[in-house]
Symmetry: C2
Subunit: 505 residues, 2 copies
Amino acid sequence: MNSYEQLCELHRKASVLASVQALLGWDQETYMPAGGASARSEQAAEMASLVHQRRTSKKLGDLLSACEAAMPDDACEARNIELMRRDYDRLTKLPDDLVSELARVGSKAQEAWKAARTADDFEGFRPWLEQMMSLSRRKAECYGVPDGGELYDALLDEYEPDARSADVQAVFEPLAEQLSTLVAELLDSPTQPSDAPNRTKVDPSAQHAFGQKLLAAMGFDLRTGRLDVTTHPFCEGVAPGDTRLTTRYADDNFMDAMYSTLHEMGHGLYEQGLPKAERQGQPLGDSVSLGIHESQSRLWENFVGRSPEFWHWAAPIAHSTLGEPIKQFSVHQLFGAANRIERSFVRVEADEATYNLHVMLRFELERAMLRGDLSIADLPAAWNERFEQLLGVNVPDNKRGCLQDVHWSFGLIGYFPTYTLGTLYAAQLWETAHSKFPDIDQQIARGEFAPLLGWLREGIHTQGRRWTAGELCERMTGRPLGPEPLMDYLRTKLRPLYGLSHSMA
Amino acid sequence: MNSYEQLCELHRKASVLASVQALLGWDQETYMPAGGASARSEQAAEMASLVHQRRTSKKLGDLLSACEAAMPDDACEARNIELMRRDYDRLTKLPDDLVSELARVGSKAQEAWKAARTADDFEGFRPWLEQMMSLSRRKAECYGVPDGGELYDALLDEYEPDARSADVQAVFEPLAEQLSTLVAELLDSPTQPSDAPNRTKVDPSAQHAFGQKLLAAMGFDLRTGRLDVTTHPFCEGVAPGDTRLTTRYADDNFMDAMYSTLHEMGHGLYEQGLPKAERQGQPLGDSVSLGIHESQSRLWENFVGRSPEFWHWAAPIAHSTLGEPIKQFSVHQLFGAANRIERSFVRVEADEATYNLHVMLRFELERAMLRGDLSIADLPAAWNERFEQLLGVNVPDNKRGCLQDVHWSFGLIGYFPTYTLGTLYAAQLWETAHSKFPDIDQQIARGEFAPLLGWLREGIHTQGRRWTAGELCERMTGRPLGPEPLMDYLRTKLRPLYGLSHSMA
């Protein structure tokens, strides 16, 4: 084997252990008995440390230098090496003890979060969040402040390479303003779609069957993937040929589970489309960024899944699968319920228009906590105050406030803004898809999802990390990322539904 | 830390990785999508190799020698060191490549077995079995023939330390004869219990609820354990605080699932009772042998679970949980159905009297295959011929013949005889329990399982590998293992049920 092949083999071997680590995480959220938590945190720490050792070995560094000394002509190989260097330099900045500490404390903090959320007990979670924030700060300091950025950007860069929080802030602020205006217009309108379909009892096992039917019809391969139940839905691309989605069922709100499933399916379709088997552990077998990952989940969940054409196709399946009480609702009623705008408290239940305001809040607060401008003890008050400014309602308890998300409990700081970046990418892809495939709406109404999926597979999924998020956006849509496609899309879909004219007031 | 403490810490760290490996195995049999099989075999091989490296490290060997040079006075510490040496010497005999090869091929062979069993395709499985048998032979040769034994005993010793196949054969042969006689008497009797309860449709979800109720009532802790569905039921003591049972549901035979669940529960109670958390990875935190493990599963499944007193307690629960059609069956009818003797083909569905004949068959055949006296190609014919001699019926297909068990597919050669040894230990423990607790039958009839469980916990579970199987048998029952308690128990229970007098003809 030449140096490049050896380098790829070391990456593959590290990735095999990382895939085991992924399974531990999946199991912890799905089937692990409560009593296994303490042993699990040891297992997670041990695996994290082994993966880290493999990814930062001197041998890997030496092979990398050897490859760089004689860069291959092949553009893919060269790109692989460039990204391997980037990852290696990033990882070698973290001491081994910090990596295993983050995994060990993170695993325990996650259990503490579960208990605290259930009991609405912020004080029970506070010491864990303090620990995780301080470990995250240490991590950011190890990475170092990137050019033209702040400490927070060292963490943001892990999820969205090359992004800077000041730039994100500059896009988010006007977006928040336009969204707040739109939300106010919609909620002031005398016409409001009914949420009756989501106040109708539907047996969880029927909901599960419905979800499975949607997955199969929309292109998610259930021979290489599955759907399970958890508290906080996620998608885990465990290994080549093994992509796991999770969702959760409430017996009086079937769309909550349904859209969680479609969201995770979007992530899962990306995972299943990556060239993982051929390029296991190589950057070119991996996803670009969380923003691009989220663009895939949002595209299928919202742009496809909340369209009137989708409901034209899905309503008969809902009628036959979800039982008698759902049969009373027409396509238009189901479409309406799927697009109700509400000033609600929980991000994962938020509608398309208010969702990005929830993200904005977290982005601001985590930035402030990391900087030390906001103490953890003051988090609930700060959360509630800013929430009222952005969404105009008072948070009733921490369970529906600052305790609602799992992310911070295992140190995911700098992760939240990628949700809104993803939505913006999705909007721009959706707009392009409509000019590329003029009959895409009719295809969706007939349940034909293959043309859209094929376009994403070819242009995004099979490319791995060949292109940066910005390059990919230009290649797919012909221009850089902007907020207009999202605002246009929301206004065009939502204003008529709320009895307002298409154009802005 | 002194040498002994360091030694224990190395054992603990190896055990953490082994617990991850255990989870991979559990997941493969329960939730892994089919497409994940190839990646899983890589993961399994990688983890097996890491565990093997840790358990055979030079550092561990050096610490062991240091401890042996100044053996501690404490009997537990001394026993721990003695057993660590035994395990170390055994493991260092296996080269690293053989260990990962066994795991890699074993994982693939297991998938091949699943497909072959479903399709009744012995030829599809044959090359895998040939590979596994040849790897097993290589393993046995690495271990070396133990004193006074044959090559097969090198493998048997892994599951039942110090056992010799010639001794096993000497116990099994007369047992088989007495069992065959008893079976013939019972089946010739004009009185036969009805199997009607097991020809009644029962919804799998009701069966699952019933199983969960039994587990909770009988002492299995569901906060540190769980029950899932698989093809071939097993119990996996994944980690401290994490013990997983599996079962399988047929909609027309609820006792099949129920007794699988009770069997695995017996293993699980042992796992939950071991001092694993305090002694993780130490021999004193581990189980004695597979025979002793099986004694626990058989005790709860058969001796407790098929007694008339058990059904006195369990029938009302079955009536209320399993639905209307089961309500028609009385305690006596349920007890009768649970004790029907049959010349059946599948070991895991076999009754108490014929079961040991199934084991005998496998013991003979695997010994012959390992010795090379029987070629794999001739296995189906040899199986069918010997099956007819032992059980008096013709095997209709390989699915119900030599393809029925998972064991050989992942190299478990020398494992089967421990099933019968376990039954013999269970019978002797059961006999002793009756003299120790004269009202044990009445306790069981009232659903009071704690006295029996407490006795097993104190004398067996909490002891780990403190004593050998033979010592434990003497300590618990006052005498060495013999076949009489099993034969007495079977005759006393079964002859009256079949309308025959208590004593032998």
